[in-house]
């Protein structure tokens, strides 16, 4: 036990005496949450749009006011012709243009029918889609208001309710994703590097020639990263609750338990990598391509798994982050209990034991 304590103490010395390591370990989660929370968001806000009003009547004016009032759009003035629209698109001043034809209000009143054209810059298809949808919704709203209580025969009203995330906040999606990513980086990458560094520095040679048991070395190497990861989980949760206003709907205890399970899985993977590589560079390369990339690509956090081709969907099952991401979303956002995520939990636990067994089996009691 004394050996073990001394070893863990030494590991903490390594970590805290290297400012870069400390920053990566403790600063990165905060930075990532803030970047994802405030800079990288797929919500469309305050997009500049142009309006070409060829009619200039009461109807167009009130529609324009409504567009302007919504928080999605900022209206770029100075558009008086189609040429101006073209020009503004080219200069990147606007993302969408709304064109009212001549006699828009007149047509609306006398023929009960008028047209409005939406021209969007589809070089970014997602943004174009979102903007046209928003604009259509605003127009529909306006139409509903002027139709008023006049009862039309046979109308079907769709009524939408966005469950669990009524405001469609991006944070609900990326907080679980960032948690998976950060834990992956901290646990897998840092653990792999720290063991391989001992090999590179030659200190592993002395450790192996000493009476300390290899299993003890492995566990002592992992313990500091386990503790720091728990700190990371706590800081991410605090940030998301108090800064990004993402609630924790489920049990905090369950969430913590699942996080520790995922941390252990990542640690086991890191140890496995370190047991099979000899240089820090290789270890870093393998952790990044073998773990970090799949975590970003195949966990469902960036790209929905349902839309992937079947082979990729199958591969995604082998990515621990996918299961953790599902669990966190379910527990944190939907507020479900263990009875709904036991399957994912079992899969994750299975992966953990498998990786740990491999790591221990691969750890050599000799140099070669």
């Amino acid at each position: 036990m004394k050996q073990f304590k001394a070893f863990v103490k030494k590991e903490f010395h390594h970590i805290f005496r290297d400012t870069r390591t400390v920053f990566i370990l403790l600063g990165m989660p905060v930075v990532q949450i803030i970047i994802f929370g405030f800079a990288l968001t797929n919500e469309v806000k305050n997009s500049r749009i142009g309006v070409l009003d060829n009619s200039k009547d009461a109807a167009t004016e009130s529609l324009i006011n409504e567009l302007e009032a919504s928080r999605y759009f900022d209206i770029e003035k100075n558009i008086y012709s189609y040429n101006d629209i073209e020009q503004s698109f080219r200069e990147g001043k606007i993302k969408m243009a709304v064109v009212f034809p001549q006699r828009f209000g007149e047509n609306l009143q006398h023929f009960n029918k008028a047209q409005v054209q939406l021209v969007a810059d589809a070089s970014d298809p997602n943004v174009a889609n979102t903007l046209t949808n928003y604009a259509t919704a605003v127009v529909m709203d306006y139409q509903k208001r002027i139709t008023g209580n006049r009862q039309l025969p046979y109308t079907i009203n769709t009524e939408m309710r966005m469950l669990y995330n009524p405001q469609l906040k991006g944070a609900y999606n990326f907080v679980p994703g960032v948690m998976a990513m950060v834990l992956m980086l901290v646990c897998t990458l840092m653990t792999a590097i720290t063991v391989v560094r001992e090999k590179e520095m030659g200190t592993m040679e002395i450790l192996l020639a000493s009476p300390i048991k290899p299993l003890k070395i492995i566990i002592a190497k992992a313990v500091p990263y386990l503790l720091l990861s728990i700190v990371n989980v706590a800081s991410i949760l605090l940030l998301s609750v108090f800064v990004l206003e993402v609630p924790i709907n489920g049990s905090l205890l369950l969430l913590s338990f699942e996080s520790i399970l995922f941390i252990l899985t990542c640690l086991a993977f890191g140890l496995l990598i370190s047991a099979s590589t000899a240089s820090q560079q290789t270890a870093m390369f393998i952790s990044l391509t073998g773990m970090f990339l799949p975590t970003v690509m195949l966990s469902g956090f960036m790209f929905p798994i349902e839309n992937m081709p079947l082979p990729l969907q199958i591969i995604s099952n082998a990515v621990p982050a996918k299961w953790y991401y599902m669990i966190v979303k379910d527990v944190m956002i939907k507020g479900v209990g263990l009875e709904s995520v036991w399957k994912e939990t079992l899969i994750l636990a299975g992966m953990m034991f498998f990786l740990l067994a491999m790591a221990i089996k691969k750890f050599k009691i000799r140099l070669a």
């Binding site: 004394k2 070893f7 030494k10 390594h14 520095m201 200190t203 000493s210 009476p211 140099l367």
Partner: protein
């Protein structure tokens, strides 16, 4: 019981042909309390041998007993009782001197206090810097710290792999003094070195070359086994002189040695070589010298 028994050890690297053969049937024995040197150039197989002795590598053939224990079967027991200092400085550079020593003491289930008397002489020299990071020490001080760490659990056998490589002459001398003191404490010491001049400081030496032991004896024994006349020659044109020496029928071998060339004589002696060299009419200086370990090493390599 011998401290170390090495019997026909073989080691090769690489799974497929051609193998790189590091050790080709090495055998020797080390007595308890001996200061035993393994002398050989880089690539002779010294580090492979040390790693096999310290249970870090498995040999492909042969068997090794350290302190009466088999290095394969009883590797755990051996790891408790031997001290090992690898050729490369292998301590934690970001830990202080004191932290390194403390860490290794704990890893070996002991404490600095328990064995302080053993490391006192060495450690007291670096103790003024005990709060300095190990990476910031000078080469000689690193060496002393590494030795302290290897000694802190009072090993019965101490393995030092090229401890003096890259260390200045004064520190090297000090280091050997320390080894002599340790030997007087009853610790068996195996030390490898590429420096032939250090052979004389050992009780017995094994000369190793290309994975084979050429000779195991006391330094005096090795020198007295040389058995041939050795002459040192110097002139203004050393390259020309070397060619001339090699062409001489009485000379068995000639090689540069410091500011002289050494000539090993097949027959005859100073007079015959003097006559031979006078024929070229160039000025030279000739004297008879007693061979040292390096001369013996060269001679053994030729056979």
């Amino acid at each position: 019981m011998k401290a170390v028994t090495v019997n026909n050890i073989k080691k090769r690297y690489g799974a497929k042909k051609p193998f790189v053969s590091a050790l080709e049937g090495v055998s020797f024995e080390v007595e308890k309390g001996e200061l035993f040197g393994i002398i050989g150039p880089d690539g002779a197989g010294k580090t492979s041998l040390f790693r096999i002795l310290t249970t870090l590598l498995l040999a492909d053939g042969g068997n090794v007993m350290v302190d009466g224990l088999d290095v394969v079967k009883n590797y755990k027991d051996i790891r408790e009782r031997v001290g090992y200092m690898p050729g490369r400085f292998s301590l934690y550079q970001d830990l202080t001197v004191r932290e390194n020593l403390e860490f290794f003491a704990t890893i070996f289930n002991t404490s600095i206090e328990a064995n302080y008397d053993l490391v006192k002489d060495i450690y007291s020299q670096i103790e003024p810097f005990k709060d300095r990071k190990a990476g910031k020490l000078s080469g000689g001080m690193k060496q002393k710290l590494a030795l302290s760490c290897a000694l802190i659990h009072r090993p019965s056998v101490l393995f030092l792999d090229e401890p003096t490589t890259g260390v200045d002459a004064v520190s090297r001398k000090e280091f050997w003094e320390m080894l002599k003191k340790l030997r007087s404490q009853g610790i068996t010491i195996l030390v490898s070195t590429p420096y032939m001049d250090e052979a004389g400081l050992c009780d017995r030496v094994a000369l190793i070359q290309a994975g084979k032991i050429m000779s195991v004896d006391t330094p005096e024994g090795i020198v007295s086994a040389f058995g041939k006349k050795l002459l040192a020659v110097k002139s203004d044109s050393m390259l020309h002189l070397l060619n001339e020496l090699k062409a001489c029928p009485d000379v068995e071998d000639a090689y540069p040695f410091g500011e002289y060339h050494h000539a090993v004589m097949k027959q005859g002696g100073q007079k015959e070589l003097n006559n031979y060299l006078l024929r070229s009419g160039k000025a030279f200086e000739l004297k008879e010298v007693t061979p040292d370990i390096e001369d013996c090493f060269m001679a053994l390599m030729k056979n």
